[in-house]
Symmetry: D2
């Protein structure tokens, strides 16, 4: 069950942490802490093993993987000894990380991406390839009529001009190559009617959006706590301070807005009303790949008594994201193999802003996920 | 479906907040914020209404209910306008709050308690009475061979000396009177084999222990979050600063130990291992009925990366406890009516240290509770 | 030594809290907690007593003082029993709170303000009047050449159009009436060369800017701690969540910018370099007059070791501001009486953004203040 | 001006961090961050330079310095590259770190310590030697009549049995050798009348007690802030979570009590009253050399309004202590050279529980310290 994992944004923090981790796991140098597919409830023969994963990707940057891995080690994201141990494999992997194609029309660019994916699959004789978007967050793109219909989209892509944002063009190309697609970012990705149509037609599954790793993860367990105790959340305000590449990107107002909306949605959907307050994202270069988030929650209880809670989360985003990226690749490949196509709402557990999700409650998402994996298991038997 | 609620510790903060709240709810003066039995998923014709509750209780103190209610209003626990509105009913209720009996042997004391309960039920023509322990937390009592066997217990109670701690003697008396019993405290209560035997023989249900209202409530949603994300919790340390009567009692080393153990259990049972760290309870008189708890959690993620979270909870314990006390009274009465006897593990959702609970995960406890209420519903139809 | 205190913004939270407090102090109903002029080191016969203060003011709003005081009591800012106790005096005071004049030219408006001030002084036979600006924070006004020179300013005010922002026009009018002026807000106030010229010419002192009551107060003691221990502050980021009238005003981007700049200045000036990070002010209506501020400070120590500190401040802004407003009125009146004119940099202790201050260190500001009061004392003897 | 620095506890975290730092500073490999004697206000020709410091010490443990330094690097206390750079000097220094002598009577033990100190001074031709106590915190020792009088003490030491705790015996031996003495720990050290007598007789100065590095440092700037603003601190409670050798020692109830008392003293002395609340120290092995302290402060302001502040301090104790240890060695040597003998209250700035200190206010301590250094300067000129 050799499975390809193709990173869009392969030279970024999340991708390189995932790569170093996958290589270290394969070599038996580390434990799978943070990988939920290694929990007893989710371990399954239907999932490809870490040793079955074959890695590659696109990026627009040229930083060598080893250099990025060294920087992550210096920043405390990954242990230097692991980077040293997988040094030669990182060097060898350079061959599989390619510049993002760019051509005269978006149709031609997509065709070049598809060609890269097909060549990767054939070169390694892979059963399945999962394309994972871990590229820089994009601003929300302008609406376009061709987003609603596959035929119209194909026509529009043949003309010049940008019809799809990069994340969606990649999803289009992935579907065209018969690859599953996972969007770990808040970008548009596969979230357009025309692309849903294409995924179904191509018989490939997809999942997203926006990995749930820090403040929102905590929100997704605390908000149900207040809801199930019938306590009234009056305000919920937060600030996220982060540096790193992701922080720099989110300092752009467009990307910031996309991310912030994604972060507050969980509250309204869990509580059934939108409490006052906002979530801020502030770039503080010196904080590097570690993020500090602080949230204040005020609520009222029996007879209206006012109370409050606050929390500070100090997490390493890339170290939280990478094991989930590997989980998602394993799960999407297994779903593909089991014949699933279109959106995978059962993977809501992983996302801030899940596609078609019935619930934002972490506990319920977990139940749905375990049932999903048991189902795959059946298929695998 | 007129239902009695008999408070052991009827003049304490939790009891009087519950009483003021029940009277205000009946009069339509307030909303049922904090009452989980009023959530859509749990609303059920099988449960007695707030207007069906008839109140009474025992206490060893003599503070008038009105005086205690005024003190709670001054402390910001309940609104002064509600206390004023129910003033006359509080005065009238004095008649139903009796000094805790005390006789030559524990058998005689229990008989006197039973007699009070039976008289209360008959005086008001009640279908069911639920005895709720909200008295001061006791120290862990010395073990006694008679705790293991009902016949031996009956014999021992006839002799002089203290065989049962007060909370267990009350449970014994409640069961003898055919009343359901809820232990909202960490005291021993019904948690002895001889009393389990008695409850089954008497055909009455019971539930406990130790209402989950603050730091432990938060623990019970955060610990599963770490577990389900396969993150390794390394240390979890906390401190609870509180004043009030409960704070003063918990300043006693014996009571403190009982409570502290109850608070850390959730971690070991949820995570499958015991992280380093302790939970402290410190009495700070000036903080009154509001409690501030602070917890620090350190954990490691993918490739061992060290991260941390901390939270501060600033809650009014009595305002958090009272609506749950009313919920428990409604649920225990309905269970009794539905023919349940012995422990009610389905009520684990409410407790720090639930009897026979399969899980400490808040989400799963919720699922079990909703199924339980749907089951009662069936019986009610 | 009867002294007038004339509030610009007399119907606002800070002013009404100051008024209720002054009346309660005069009646001996409360202690002078929060008034620094009541500390042993600053108590002085040179300062007018609380009983000597005669109150009045301008506002553009019309909310009755009693209504505002009731709202403050409901919000927990002042005790309801004190508002009740001074009810009649609040009603009587309505007479002394006048609508802010507005005329065809700014010169005419200023003349009307001056006339109100002079009438107030004469009506009550006051030795001195201190005008205190506690009005809504203004946006930073556009620069104007007439700001630099008194003669040019006089000429420009005679024309139509807005040459001075309201706070500066009030300062101009106060100086014209021979009144001392205190700016408790971050608005421009007397901070223009032409007004400095006028104050000296009129022989009146002034002080400002922006009362230091919450997060910035804490900054002004923590920043010197890091500096004096030779620890390198790398980042200092904060967020202020507040409701109330002040919160609503600061939600305006212009006012927000003025206030934010005032808040970060203390860091650069104390540390000698500007650490990374920003201070946010977010309006959360439901928080009312209480403000929650959270700050994260990261710093490095010996051999570069990375460390961090965070704090949460939960304060009632008006309750922190009001006693300082009374202090400043007493001090400015005594300075005026002692013959001081122009800026009073010795009052830097009270301000976020003090005029001509040599230091932002709280400890040093205190030393300067005590010396200043001892100096007045000498004059008073 | 070659100056000896003799560490009691030379193989501990604070000592080895100081040693690595001193060697790195001498080699120009690092900046003097955290050393207050390098601030412009304190730089003085009267102080020995870092390059003039000659190091040695006693310990009861045998861990090689290099091994301890490697452990500190692994724990993130010191950078691994600096430990590597000074590796050879650390090895060479083993020669100067000796086992703590132990003989039949305390008099003989003291004589052996004195002999070690004298030999060290002569071997290196040092002008002055400063003995710095950075050994494990001792429990509070039982009182003994001989503590009050030097002659009685000398007699008692000749008998068998423990008259002085180890820290005091070291101080006795240091004074006997004509060495200055600094107590960085909360142990008794020189704090006995008989030892004060001896220091004066021997013409040597001493300073202490208990380096002010973390929570207490913050307390010493926040408490004056509340005091100078005339705000009433109602409660101040804290918890310190720490691992490492110091944490393990403080887990002993005796040592814990000594340290805790030292930590709360600053509040009573600064505020003029003792607020409610306590300071806890809890050992959490996994936290290693980093300490997390959390403090809650509740206070009331004008008209009694209740407010609160909390802070979390996450510091590396050894990295905070080491530069101060070097500062103290430089200052004590200069004081000795300037002819000072007996206690040095001017060094209160450095200590939680300073000897004879007039004030606990950090700002005032700083003024006293700068004056002291300027005074030495005069002497040096
Ligand atoms: N780390 C987390 O916890 C987390 C959680 C949720 C979402 N995310 C998302 O994951 C993404 C990656 O985060 P990161 O920290 O690795 O960021 P990063 O800045 O380190 O890496 C992003 C990489 O994407 C590349 N890139 C940019 N545009 C591209 C394009 N059009 N095609 C291909 N590559 C492109 C960049 O060159 C860079 O190498 C972000 O969108 C972030 O919002 C991360
Ligand atoms: N408030 C919460 O959030 C919460 C949560 C979990 C558990 N609890 C438990 O609830 C109990 C009550 O808390 P509280 O804050 O109301 O305390 P409280 O001190 O205000 O009230 C306790 C009352 O019990 C009475 N009492 C003591 N011994 C008695 C006895 N043997 N029989 C009858 N009455 C007796 C006391 O006189 C007092 O009136 C405590 O055991 C507490 O640990 C409270
Ligand atoms: N409370 C604090 O701790 C604190 C600290 C520093 C500065 N301040 C400043 O004090 C000021 C007052 O704060 P507040 O909370 O009382 O606000 P508020 O909104 O309650 O009151 C402001 C009052 O000013 C009046 N006003 C507006 N423009 C006016 C004008 N041109 N002339 C006369 N009156 C006018 C308004 O009608 C209102 O009654 C603000 O500028 C605030 O930034 C407050
Ligand atoms: N690090 C700080 O910020 C800080 C602040 C204030 C005080 N202190 C005090 O400094 C001391 C040292 O702290 P640490 O973290 O280095 O502890 P540590 O446990 O790492 O080192 C203590 C050393 O003292 C040695 N020792 C024990 N008893 C001795 C004796 N009688 N004679 C000679 N050596 C002896 C031990 O073998 C050990 O090597 C402690 O007393 C601590 O309370 C530290
Ligand atoms: Na906090
Ligand atoms: Na915090």
């Amino acid at each position: 069950m050799r499975t390809g994992v193709w990173f869009i944004g392969a030279r970024g923090s999340v991708a390189v942490t995932s790569i170093v981790g996958a290589l270290a796991l394969r070599a038996g140098l580390t434990e799978a802490t943070g990988c939920v597919t290694e929990l007893p409830e989710l371990r399954s023969p239907a999932l490809p093993g870490f040793a079955d994963l074959v890695l590659g990707g696109h990026d627009i940057a040229e930083t060598p993987l080893v250099k990025k891995a060294d920087a992550l080690a210096a920043a405390g994201v990954v242990p230097a000894r692991l980077v040293d141990a997988v040094h030669d494999e990182l060097v060898a992997l350079e061959r599989e990380v390619r510049p993002l194609p760019s051509a005269a029309t978006q149709a031609l660019t997509a065709a070049a991406i598809t060609a890269d994916l097909v060549a990767f699959r054939e070169r390694h004789g892979l059963d399945h390839v999962v394309v994972v978007n871990v590229a820089t967050t994009e601003p929300v793109p302008p609406a376009h009529p061709a987003h609603a219909d596959l035929a119209a989209l194909r026509a529009a892509l043949d003309a010049s001009g940008e019809v799809l944002p990069p994340s969606s063009l990649t999803a289009y190309a992935a579907f065209g190559a018969g690859c599953a697609y996972v969007d770990f970012t808040p970008s548009t990705g596969a979230r357009l009617p025309a692309l849903a149509e294409l995924a179904r037609a191509a018989g490939v599954p997809y999942a997203g959006h926006d990995g749930k790793t820090g403040e929102t993860l905590v929100k997704s367990v605390l908000a149900p706590m207040f809801a199930l105790r019938n306590l009234r959340v009056r305000t919920w305000s937060g600030v996220n301070l982060l540096g790193g590449g992701d922080g720099a990107a989110l300092a752009e107002p467009g990307a910031n807005a996309a991310k912030t909306a994604s972060k507050q949605r969980v509250l309204g959907e869990t509580l059934g009303y939108q409490p006052q307050g906002t979530t801020r994202i502030d770039f503080v270069d010196d904080l590097g790949d570690f993020k500090t988030a602080w949230d204040l929650i005020t609520f009222s209880g029996f007879l209206g008594t006012a109370m409050r809670m606050e929390f500070t989360w100090h997490g390493c985003d890339s170290a939280l994201a990478a094991p989930l990226v590997l989980d998602l690749a394993r799960l999407a490949a297994a779903a593909h193999r089991a014949g699933r196509s279109g959106p995978l709402p059962e993977l809501a557990f992983f996302f801030k802003d899940p596609i078609d999700a019935g619930t934002h409650s972490f506990g319920e998402q977990w139940s749905v996920l375990t049932a999903f994996v048991r189902g795959l298991d059946g298929g695998a038997a």
